[in-house]
Symmetry: C2
Subunit: 244 residues, 2 copies
């Protein structure tokens, strides 16, 4: 059995942000699986079978990829950003729990540039000190837990990065998160909305918390919240390395 | 004035984890600056001046690079991992605060694969749910703040990634952090020590918190702590996407 499964991160959008490791895996693959817009980023070629699927199909996609690898395929599941951050790697290991016979397969996770780091780089260095990373979607956890984490993060004066601030199914997450932040943080706290980073649609907007509005975020936006010391210098936003 | 400054992430060690964007910047550079072992990763070539410096010289290095760019150089400051995560990007913006005349320079931050994501990928998917990122060095902040953040992160049931768990100057950080975690978390909580990820010296060790010991970490180690639900499947460690 010579099949393998790679769970690979494509980075936030720009091809220049792929690693050579991911490029190599893609060039050797017989099958590429993933959410429709991510598979659309892969150039077709003879001998490569593309398997796009919907974004609620994570577990089925993971099982399909493992079954392909078990049958001898060289399968790559593609995620945007990094596969280990709110993406496909956890779903693959979840699928593996039900199938001990697949545990000995050659499975590798190939890291990618996750959206928050690409967004932070474009803004300056807003994550330059301790920070928390929170998925604002309440699809897989209760909102009460998200709210509790937001409050603890603010009380610890962590900078923050939010994934999935809103979606068609749950448009209210960003507004609720801003309401919690307004209770915990000063109105001048800097909030960066980074949309479609590294693509032609890129838009970076930094505003004080008092001016932040839910409609500044959409499905393609990462939100970065500074800590108490985060400030502007020229056109950049940065969080100092030092803290009291 | 055609000079520029790129603050670039080299990833954790393996050349295959560099992005094409960083490779391109390095190929155009006239000057590369950075901590001695990171500059040692750059191949010398005619027309390229290498400026290695000690790791306590961040601000002086940032000023030097900005001055070079202002004088027309194509300067790259190299960091290991990602420049925005406990690396050189914040120091550059700090240096910029004193020199408004440098604010209009062409300054770009080029993201890289930060060590925690490379470590998580090797271990499985321990950061597959909300997580906190904490620098355990008390060089630039008081230990009391680190301890407070550790407790808040544990109480929010965040997974955690620790940078700089110990150094020659401060060997006690890891032991103190483990003592705090033992007060806040159950003894079976999974802790992964990931040393020198993606290099020939790579070593990944996952143990329950009860068995974790400070000497499992050194200067080249990233420590990943799971949340309450983090578990093993086969040779992997992963944090489920779902939480109650």
């Amino acid at each position: 059995m010579s099949g393998w499964l790679a769970v690979a991160g494509l980075g936030p959008g720009d091809e220049a942000l792929l690693t050579a490791e991911v490029r190599a895996a893609l060039s050797e693959a017989t099958d590429v699986l993933g959410y429709i817009p991510y598979v659309a980023r892969i150039a077709p070629r003879p001998g490569l079978c593309l398997h796009p699927s919907d974004n609620r199909e994570e577990l089925a996609r993971a099982r399909h990829a493992l079954a392909l690898a078990a049958a001898g395929a060289r399968a790559v599941i593609v995620s945007s950003g990094d596969p280990g951050v709110f993406a496909m790697a956890s779903a693959v290991f979840e699928a593996l729990e039900d199938r001990p016979d697949w545990e000995r397969l050659d499975i590798r996770v190939l890291p990618g540039i996750t959206a928050m780091l690409a967004a932070a780089a474009r803004a300056g260095a807003p994550l330059g000190h301790d920070f928390c990373v929170i998925n604002l979607s309440d699809n897989l956890k209760p909102w009460a837990l998200i709210e509790r984490r937001l409050r603890l993060a603010a009380r610890g004066d962590f900078a923050m990065a939010f994934y999935n601030p809103c979606s068609a199914a749950r448009p209210e997450g960003m507004g609720r998160a801003l309401a919690v932040l307004r209770e915990e943080c000063e109105p001048g706290r800097l909030v960066t909305f980074a949309r479609a980073v590294s693509t032609a649609q890129e838009c970076i907007l930094t505003v004080p918390l008092a001016e932040a509005a839910p409609q500044m975020a959409d499905m393609r936006t990462i939100v970065l919240v500074g800590n108490r010391a985060t400030r502007r210098v020229g056109r950049f936003v940065y969080t100092p390395r030092r803290a009291e």
